[in-house]
Amino acid sequence: MRKCYLDHVATNPLLPEVFEAMLPYFKEEFGNPNSVYDLGIKAREAIEKARAEVASLINVKPSSIIFTSSGSEANNFALKGIALAKQGQGKHLIVSRVEHHSVLNTARSLEKMGFVVTWLPVDKYGLVDPETVKKSIIKETILISITHASREIGSIEPIKEIAKIAKDKKVLLHADGVATTGNIPVNIKELGVDLYSISAHQFYGPKGVGALYVKEGLRIVPLIYGGIQEGGRRAGTENVPAIVGMGKAAELARANLNDRMNHCMKLRDRIIEGITKIPNVYLTGHPQERLPHHASFVVEFIEGEAMLLLLSMKGLYAASGSACSSKALKSSPVLLSMGIPTALAQGSIVFSVGIGNTHEDVDYLLTEFPQVINRLREMSPFSGGWGKGSEGDKCYTGG
């Protein structure tokens, strides 16, 4: 049976070059980077080389990169670290409703600690309006956190415009760049953000390693206390092989970014064109301002988990909603925040392509997916419509 991995927002396969670069640091180069003898020095040099590569990928100074265990840790660190460091100036945060759980749930935990969060609404494409950000800023606002692009709907947020407002109002801006880094050009100097989260496995690096960019001179309270790793801001003996892998993946992403984007966009556009021809299937997220490898939809009258199951039986691997909520059997808060009705949001499906996918993979998907939908709709009690107050005539792309 043909196998097509179309879930690159969940994770990416490790590139062979990345694996090769990591290998020595599991075996002969096993030293602790904080040891003063040559084994430790070699590990330290490898980490600093990786830091320079990651910094170069987003155009920042190496010293502003703090390695973490994941993108989620970077998001937790940004929100909690800044909230605690700046609570003397105010306890108000602004967070969008289309954030990953690692931002949403961190902001909720800060609410429990006495901080006040303004939850920003989004339009039908899942985009935040910079004017709404401006209106939400009050004297006590210390931090704005908005994803650079949602993994669930692929829309790329107007971070540059929001950054100008934040700078003007002297409020810090954090952007979750897990879905964007290594997939679209990211230039922090042009974007103007103060903090930016990254995850290695989203650009063909290893799992278990991420990074947080923290603008030079910014105070941030550590999440993990201990030794002086990462400049005294994130304790714990460094995961040297993973950090080396992240550096190699960053180097390759920077060198091959345009080719990767062009390859993925062609496949993505064919998927969007083919799938939106199926009756009662709608594209979610912005039709143009979206990640080059991302195609997301809602399918009426059926449920995302069922589609995933039948697709996986045909060797097609996709996602429903965000990767983390696919087992939660509840409608995605991101889709609901865009005004998609609860019942329709259950039929969410995301196809995300990668550099290993081919046009034959897309052909296979476009042949099999309509059959999956038909089979499930035949079984669905709603296939004749939602009944009273049917939403069947609504298009969520606005197009």
Binding site: G81, A85, G88, P222, G227, I228, G232, R233, A235
Partner: protein
């Protein structure tokens, strides 16, 4: 402890919220970068620095000018007196 006010520093190292022993590592690094006679200001919230920084000055022969308390952190002033 010597408390001081309005000391003019030539160089400042902000290590607020950074873990121990960053205060000593930064002190060691920064003192090498300034000239004899110049004043280094270290900003830290680490209580251990209250003992460590004067102790480091006594050991190295540099002059510990004093500290100033500021909101939720300390400002330490050290004059480089040893080349």
């Amino acid at each position: 402890m010597k408390f001081v006010h309005d000391i003019k520093a030539d160089v400042t190292a902000d290590i607020v919220y950074m873990m121990c022993p960053m205060h000593l590592l930064k002190l060691d690094e920064m003192i090498k970068e300034i000239e004899v006679g110049q004043v280094l200001e270290i900003l830290t919230d680490y209580d251990g620095a209250l003992e460590d920084i004067p102790g480091w000055c006594a050991k190295t022969g540099n002059e510990f000018i004093g500290i100033e308390e500021s909101e939720d952190y300390y400002k330490f002033y050290i004059k480089k007196t040893v080349a």
